[in-house]
């Protein structure tokens, strides 16, 4: 069939490069987004008034501002002010800022759900505040936040497609180019959709695996059974 030949001969090879860019974007953004989320959450809960306020504003802004708009700001808005980013760098920066804001909310909720007694005991043993937060609170909070944070990571994979809008030729962008050249939009985007579904499914499985591995008895409700 015509479509299948197209898919095999022209589409898939062209999408290979795009997929690798997408994967690169994702792998760069996830760890930094997570780090940002943890820092902002900790700052909001344990910081002094100023730091806490800054973190609140950060979350307010980067949750309320659409990711696409943020990407435009970084890629088109900053150069006139003297700061230029490559499409990939701009994309990663945008993803990190945005993901960081959403993740921090989950982590913050998890931190606040850890029992007060935990840090009391830590202090009684002579740990500093920082040690208590680092070794006792965060390990517990992170595990509890994992379902929510994992969700945000899935979003990240999907929203990576927006990088195309600032000229980063990732999967979606590569697809559009090929589709336009051969005028086969439906097949192209169905295939692209399938690729994203595969990526998302892999990520979901990995996250479920992580949740299982990190589970400790008595942790509380989880998104898997037993």
């Amino acid at each position: 069939m015509d479509s299948l030949v197209f898919i095999q001969k022209q589409l898939l090879p062209a999408l290979l490069e795009g997929t690798s860019v997408t994967v690169k974007l994702i792998l760069l953004s996830i760890p930094f987004g997570l780090l940002t989320g943890i820092i902002v959450a900790v700052g909001r809960v344990y910081g002094n008034k100023t730091i806490s306020m800054i973190c609140r504003l950060y979350v307010l802004f980067f949750k309320g501002c659409p990711l696409l708009l943020l990407l435009f700001m970084i890629y088109f808005g900053l150069p006139p002010l003297g700061i230029s980013f490559s499409p990939i760098a701009a994309s990663v920066l945008g993803f990190v800022l945005c993901n960081g804001a959403y993740s921090s909310e989950y982590i913050r909720g998890a931190i606040q759900s850890v029992k007060v007694g935990q840090i009391t005991a830590a202090e009684a043993l002579g740990m500093t505040r920082l040690q208590g937060v680092l070794y006792i609170i965060l390990p517990q909070a992170f595990r509890r936040a994992l379902p929510g944070v994992g969700n945000e990571i899935i979003y990240l994979i999907k929203y990576s497609s927006l990088a195309y809008m600032i000229t980063c030729i990732e999967l979606t962008g590569a697809g559009k180019i090929v589709a336009a050249r051969y005028f086969r939009f439906t097949e192209t985007f169905i295939v692209i959709g399938i690729i994203y579904l595969i990526l998302v499914t892999i990520a979901t499985k990995l996250l479920n695996f992580a949740e299982r591995k990190l589970y400790y008895p008595g942790m509380g409700p989880t998104s898997f059974k037993g």
Binding site: G64, F76, L81, F185
Partner: protein, 222 residues
């Protein structure tokens, strides 16, 4: 700077389009989501599987891909000449339906089977029980999670820029090309979105308060 300020009215008038997208998408999501949730909980095995498949697809696909698929692919293929606005609303709505299905399903399941048992023991049919007992409660429980769809759809509506819908982002970009001042204009757009976000949230909080039944569920899920 003058030019920037003069472009504001044009950009702000995009709010109507944005809200239109969000409203239609929420409505579509609701109309499709509730039946699907009910179908998953009370329907047969194959109904459940089919719905789960739908949810899996529409939660796994990026908005942009959906938009391109519909706008450049499916609709032209079927020879339908539909405006970008409605295609955008459709794509957003179908996606939202998938998430709303999960929200309502979770709410229905959280009621436990006691409610249904009691209703049936009083002689209600399955459908009567669902309509009169389960849904009224489930919808209240679902409200906090459901109102979360609003900010999500609000920020997602900006992606409709990619197919030329004249919402806030598209208009903003047009003004940028005219005034050559990207940052101020983008910043203004961001503020508009943030304010719309905040306004909507307050509205939903108020609604939550009004429909709250004492001692019911945990509406402190902020």
């Amino acid at each position: 700077m003058q030019a920037v300020i003069e472009s504001f009215p044009y950009i702000i008038s995009g709010m109507g389009v944005t809200l239109g997208l969000v409203g239609l998408a929420l409505a579509l999501g609701l109309m499709v989501g509730i039946p699907m949730a009910v179908g998953q909980v009370y329907g047969g095995k194959w109904t459940g599987k089919f719905i789960a498949f739908y949810v899996w697809i529409f939660r796994g696909l990026p908005n942009l891909v959906l938009l391109f698929l519909f706008y450049f692919g499916i609709f032209p293929l079927m020879g339908l000449n539909v405006s970008a606005f409605f295609i955008g609303a459709l794509a957003l709505g179908l996606r939202s339906a998938a998430y709303q299905t999960e929200i309502f399903r979770g709410a229905i399941l959280s009621l436990g089977e006691g409610q249904m048992l009691a209703a049936r023991s009083l002689g209600m049919s399955k459908n009567q029980a669902i309509l009169n007992i389960m849904l009224p409660q489930a919808l209240r429980i679902a409200l906090p999670g459901w109102s979360n769809e609003y900010p999500i759809l609000l920020t997602d509506s900006s992606v409709c820029y990619a197919i030329g819908v004249m919402e806030i982002m598209t208009r903003g970009n047009q003004m940028v090309t005219r005034t050559y001042q990207p940052m101020p204009i983008y910043f203004a757009c961001a503020l508009i979105f943030i304010l719309m976000n905040y306004g909507g949230l307050s509205l939903f909080r108020a609604v939550e308060k009004r429909v709250h039944v004492p001692g019911f569920g945990s509406s402190d899920q902020s």
